[in-house]
Amino acid sequence: MAGLLLAAAAAAADLQVSASVDRTQVVVGEPFRLTIVAAGAASDIPDPRMPQVSGIEIYGAGRAQNVSIVNGQVSSSVTFQFQVVARRPGRLVVPSAAFVVGGRTFATDPIEVTAANAASSAQPGIGAPGAAPAAPQAPAVFVTAAVNKRRVYVGEQLVYTFLFHTRVQLASQPGFSVPPDFSGFVSEDLPPRQWTQESGYARMGKQTALFPTSPGTATIGAATLQVAVFQGGADPFAMFFGGGRTQALRSEPVTITVLPLPDTGRPADFTGAVGSWRLDASLDKTTVEAGKPVTLTVEVSGRGLVKSLREPTWPEIPGARRYETLSSLNVQNTGDVIQGSKTFKVMLIPQTSGRMALPPVRYPVFDPDTRRYVALTTPALVLRVKPGAAGSQAGPVMPGLVPAAGVRSLNQDIRFLKTEARLGGARAPLPARPVFLWLQLLPLLFAASGAAAAWRRAALARDPAAVRSRRALRTASRRLAEASASAKRGEALAVHAAVQEALAGFLADRWGVSPAGLTLLRIQGRLAAAGVPADAVARLVRFWEDADMIRYAPAAAPDADLAARLAEARTLLADLEKYL
């Protein structure tokens, strides 16, 4: 379908344009109507370009657009209305209007009109026939510029009126040498009107609708009007053969206070529409087959800058596909008000049959009269969708291409709710909890302990003597523990042997020698050399000799208290540990 719309846009090259006037015999100063029609397969027909020509003034009077979508094909027709005023008698040409679309230019034919002076008009001058005499000191000609409002909101309309006042006849039609500067405003022509005489002056003027674009102080710049007046007004030759004195008349600048739109109450989806608006919505049909297009039209109408109205925010329409929005603009510049409507058409293609409720469309606007935001809302529309024919779908189908059987995707919608809550408390993720750190540290500590064990094994392999010396006390203590177990079983000889071996083993380990080679004499000598106190050496010697006696001459040895022997051995080991 989008392809269809694109094709429609491409077909805009076939634009038909025409121009017509409501009459070809016109009166100088009286407006007549120029109508330009452009039609083609496009929705975005631009405004026509028209050159300025002498003797004719052209005022925009509005536009009316009609966009239609028939079976996905877009066509559009725009009628532009202008008010034209002839400013001099004779044969005049309404110029050609040009439309530039897709790089191509489409132009209307020029139209020739014949202008004649009004029957009551004084000849040959222009100006103030029959004007009441003004005060002698009053100027012959002057201009004024005024607005109907000095304080307006951004986007609110005001009317700027430029008036030329004369009490003498003119030698030629006045014209702007410097037009008013409307910077900071969007301007729209207002149609020409007949001005009545006032205080002895005839008046001619031009009105423009202005819409300020930003808050603050805005100034409409001074305009300068060039006008030629007859000298004295009584010279018949000057009146017939032209001439006269040219004057430049300058208007005063006009300052406007532009108020910002209030923040209070501004809807979030407000898009800047300022004015007095109403909103309507309609469907081009209320019953449609699934897969066939239906057009939803939303129209915003009222007073304000119609062409600045933006597309509404479309609500989600369950069960239907929505395609590109086409807009059309209708503007009437009547009286001193810009009014009209902007229509947004969107093509919907229902995907499934049944009753389809189209949600309301919201369109918030700001009404400067009430100084409030108003959320315009369309009524809810209902569409009855009948089951479509098998394989029916919007958009082109290749001739002869039969849709394959199988699963057909008709509509995309979100998945349905979850029914299992599986609720839990709010908890930080695992990596943010201390347990995560410990979970990493524990195995790493285990690996580190393995590494430490391996390191120790390596150290042992490098220096066994040192290791033996370091373990001497532990080895001796273990032997004493074995001796203690033997004592509990009453094995006295085993106890004495173990105790003596524990002491000998301790000394041999510390000195890195074989315990078999240790005699009591050598022990005494090495202990003395190591600085062990004499009393400790003497106690060791006595203990050693007692052990020898018990082991090798038990009959001669007195009965010994095993526990006391073990305690003595531990004391000796502790003493030796201090010095060795």
Partner: protein, 247 residues
């Protein structure tokens, strides 16, 4: 070890909702069913109120976040719907329904498609990644510890270490990237198309617009305004703080 400590510290700043633990039936679960019933009858506002009450009580799950997203979607609030579905995806990234809804929402917004890395990254939750990393650490450290204690020859446990270490590094980097992503303040545009200005005030010109539901990164704050970025388009600017909501 250092990598693990870095991971822990980076996750400490993360505010991801927890993966829920299974619990027995509770009043909240009854409220969950009531809200679902309201949804089925088209009373979406009631459903939303019910689900929000449960969440306000400190309870959460992927199903609750998913249903909140659905309800917001039905009420026409795309931004909030995407916000909840993103939360649900963090809790249950492999859930096909959550992924489908998010993809649908993104296609409706003409948002950028997730990259291949994003798609892969979203296969596992942060907790799952953490458990995988923990398992790898236990296996490798356990094998090394036992082998060292028992003085097993290197040739017997080398293969485990050579294969396991690269996997451990990949898992650590993955988890670190996830931690980094979760620590970034992702948000969603929750107002209708918003105008992003070049400074924190209405006097600054509008630089770009972002649709409702657009994922943005919250960069800084000023009273009433936040600075947001759209990394995929290298854009950043200021917007009123009520127009975005954190995921």
């Amino acid at each position: 070890m250092i990598a693990v400590l870095l991971l822990v510290s980076s996750f400490a700043a993360t505010a991801e909702p927890a993966r829920p633990a299974l619990t027995t039936a509770s009043p909240d679960e009854a409220s969950f069913k009531q809200a679902g019933s309201a949804y089925e009858k088209g009373r979406f506002a009631d459903a939303l109120a019910g689900y929000e009450r449960i969440a306000a009580g400190g309870r959460m799950s992927a199903a609750l976040a998913f249903n909140l997203g659905n309800t917001q979607w039905r009420l026409g609030r795309r931004g909030f719907a995407i916000q909840w579905w993103e939360r649900a995806r963090r809790l249950s990234p492999r859930d096909a329904d959550i992924r489908y809804n998010l993809a649908l929402a993104r296609s409706a917004l003409q948002d950028e498609e997730p990259s291949v890395w994003e798609t892969l990254d979203r296969v596992l939750t942060a907790d799952e990644l953490a458990w995988i990393l923990t398992l790898l650490v236990w296996i490798l450290a356990g094998v090394a510890g036992v082998a060292l204690w028992r003085d097993l020859p290197w040739s017997r446990w080398r293969r485990v270490i050579v294969v396991g270490m690269p996997v451990l590094v990949v898992a650590s980097v993955w988890l670190a990237l996830r931690a980094h992503d979760l620590s970034r303040p992702w948000s969603v545009v929750t107002a209708s198309t918003v105008e992003i200005r070049s400074g924190p005030g209405d006097q600054y010109p509008v630089g770009f617009t972002a649709p409702e539901g657009q994922r943005v990164l919250l960069l800084s704050r000023r009273p009433g305004w936040v600075e947001i970025g759209v990394p995929s388009k290298s854009l950043k600017g200021w917007v009123v703080d009520s127009a975005v909501s954190a995921i």
